[in-house]
């Protein structure tokens, strides 16, 4: 039984009603890493935000369900929904430079959820934070806990955010392009760290990225998105053996190979784009008449 199961989730812009997610379904089980790929604007981040209850004010959910441990979040009153998300899910954000509060020390930013939402006592939460920082290979955790974010490097801050995400032993973690804002040299280490932590804690991980190379390294399954529509949902092995959907194949062809980064890349052909856009239009027609 998957911990997260999204069924036919649709979202649109308030007012204009422009669709952003078109009946998205996907699931992530404990211990599974699901990649969420697609070009910029495909709606990858929106899915993660919908799950975590942080959709922008301008966007509203127009249908479907988000089952977290079998309970539909969209049917819960806001307060219960928040508490449920806070207790079972966590986010590894994209930009470590902006995701820590500049005027608070590191320690309370890791322990606050444990103390306020889960009711731990402060001493235990602090000990846990120190333990976690050691786990993400931060030297001198006690000092770092007392530091302010501006005293730490970007890579260090991303490690802290990863530690913080695992602090409450969440069932599900959403990582939204957790390495794109980092230095190339640090990217690999951080990626490895996330994979290592996920495996050790057996967490379900929804990994948003537009990098298929990353997918091949850390994911078990993946969902390919175009225009808020799922075009392919498969496991990683069969995907890299040969994607079923023409758009996925084109996407794969457009990705540099690790074995041969200099090989010439084929951009997604216009014909493929036309076809997938026709599918999106067909989905909209079905949604209107069904």
């Amino acid at each position: 039984m998957s911990f997260l199961r999204v069924n036919g989730l649709s979202a649109r812009l308030k007012g204009a009603g422009h669709p952003i997610l078109r009946g998205v379904s996907l699931s992530v089980a404990a211990g599974e890493v699901r990649g969420l790929v697609g070009e910029s604007g495909a709606g990858k981040s929106m899915i993660g935000k919908a799950v975590l209850g942080i959709l922008p004010k301008a966007v509203e959910v127009s249908g479907g369900e988000i089952l977290l441990g079998g309970v539909d979040l969209l049917r819960l009153p806001p307060k219960e929904r928040r508490a449920r998300i806070g207790a079972t899910c966590a986010l590894i954000p994209q930009d470590p430079l902006t995701a820590l509060n500049p005027s608070r020390r590191i320690a309370p930013q890791i322990t606050d959820r444990l103390v306020d939402i889960l009711g731990w006592d402060r001493g235990r939460a602090l000990a846990r934070a120190e333990e976690l920082l050691a786990e993400v290979h931060i030297p001198d955790p006690a000092r770092v806990l007392r530091a302010y974010p501006h005293e730490l490097s970007g890579g260090m801050r991303q490690r802290i955010l990863i530690a913080s995400a695992f602090a409450a032993e969440p069932k599900l973690i959403v990582a939204d392009e957790p390495t794109t804002a980092l230095d190339v040299t640090v990217q690999k280490q951080v990626l490895k760290l996330i994979a290592e932590m996920q495996a050790r804690h057996g967490t379900a991980l929804l990994f948003v990225t537009h990098d298929l190379g990353v997918v091949s390294k850390v994911c078990d399954s993946l969902t390919v998105l175009y225009g808020g529509l799922v075009v392919e949902d498969t496991d990683v092995r069969s995907f890299f053996a040969g994607p079923a959907h023409a758009y996925s194949r084109a996407l794969l062809a457009a990705t540099p190979k690790y074995t041969d980064p200099q090989a010439s890349l084929t951009p997604v052909p216009d014909a493929v784009i036309r076809d997938v856009q026709a599918e999106v239009a067909a989905a909209d027609r079905r949604a209107r008449h069904g």
Binding site: R82, I85, L100, S103, R104, D116
Partner: protein
């Protein structure tokens, strides 16, 4: 250490500023027409009387000479004698200062409470009619100056519904056990809450009149920066931890959003203190501002000089406090 150096530098520049203020005031009040000596003497005084008094107050000497004599006294803590009250200027001024400080601080507290409340509720209600209502109220509060608010408050709560006192600092018939002139403060220390209530009832309307425009400024600016802060990633991250709107605003956003407001409040607070001059007159409140108007009417040159210097000292002290507070609240400056 950096902080200490900055403070020392500020003190040095403050000294120069005060010297400049002293020179300007000294010259200006001697250039404008109106002879203090003539105003002191009864009708029919002789030329000789005028000359004698003029010499007594040193007004027969040249301007630079007068300034040096006065400045030399100031450095020794002697601000000269008030011409009208015939008392040391320093005693007069220090006697009135506590009343004005208490009024200004009370106004500042009211402004921060009202403005903070407007900003927080406006942020909570952002994008709804509630925010629009707060914006309208803010706009009204800002477009009416403090002395007009004073008149409005007198009419409403002094005349129409006489809920508060509208004249003086405390009911004159009351027996005051105070040893300092900080009545409000001392009444609390002595646990004399009957007197405290009487003093607050006198101070409330003038303080509110001073506070309303500042509250509007605080409300607008703080709401603006809170709203901007609410979009930032660390606020969103806090939401995913299970925190609700109130917690997120107060603990994640407020502390960062308050910094730009703080600087402005410092500047505006000095304007507020300037505003006490008219407001104290309006409410017959026995503070420095009321004394200043009397001094100007009577051409009491030493007294005017003393008051202006004191105001200048207060203004620079306020600015210094704001800068220090800013450094304390902003960890990037504290360590930088």
């Amino acid at each position: 250490m950096q902080l200490l150096r900055a403070v020392l530098l500020r003190l040095a520049t403050t000294a120069v500023t005060l010297l400049g203020v002293a020179v300007i005031v000294f010259v200006v009040i001697r250039v404008v027409p109106g002879n203090p000596i003539a105003m002191m003497l009864p009708p029919g005084a002789t030329e000789a009387d005028v000359a004698r008094l003029t010499a007594q107050y040193g007004l027969d000497k040249s301007l630079p000479e007068q300034f040096l004599i006065w400045a030399g006294g100031v450095l020794r803590g002697d601000f000269g004698l008030s011409i009208t009250a015939r008392q040391p200027v320093l005693d007069l001024v220090l006697g009135r200062l506590p009343a004005t400080l208490e009024l200004s601080v009370m106004a500042l507290v009211i402004a921060c409470l009202l403005g903070g409340f407007a900003a927080l509720t406006g942020t909570r209600a952002r994008g709804t009619g509630g925010e629009a209502a707060i914006d309208v109220a803010n706009g009204m509060a800002l477009s009416i100056p403090d002395f007009l608010w004073g008149l409005i408050l007198v009419l409403l709560f002094g005349v129409l519904w006489p809920l508060f006192h509208i004249s003086g600092r405390v009911t004159p018939s009351l027996e005051l056990p105070f040893t300092t002139d900080f009545y409000l403060f001392e009444s609390v220390l002595r646990l004399r809450f009957d007197l405290w209530a009487n003093i607050v009832s006198h101070m409330f309307l003038p303080a509110l009149a001073l506070a309303i425009p500042l509250a509007a400024i605080i409300g607008q600016l703080l709401k603006q920066s809170l709203k901007e802060t609410m979009h930032l990633d660390y606020v969103t991250l806090a939401r995913t931890k299970g925190y609700g709107e109130n917690h997120v605003i107060l603990r994640e956003a407020l502390r960062n959003a308050i910094l730009p407001t703080l600087t402005l409040v410092g500047v505006q607070f000095t304007f507020l203190i300037g505003g006490t001059v008219i407001i104290e007159r309006l409410f017959s409140y026995e503070g420095l501002g009321n004394l200043a108007i009397d001094a100007v009417i009577n051409r009491d040159l030493p007294l005017i000089q003393g008051i202006v210097i004191l105001f200048a000292v207060i203004f620079t002290a306020v600015n210094l406090c704001v800068d220090l507070l800013y450094a304390v609240l902003n960890p990037r400056l504290r360590h930088g």
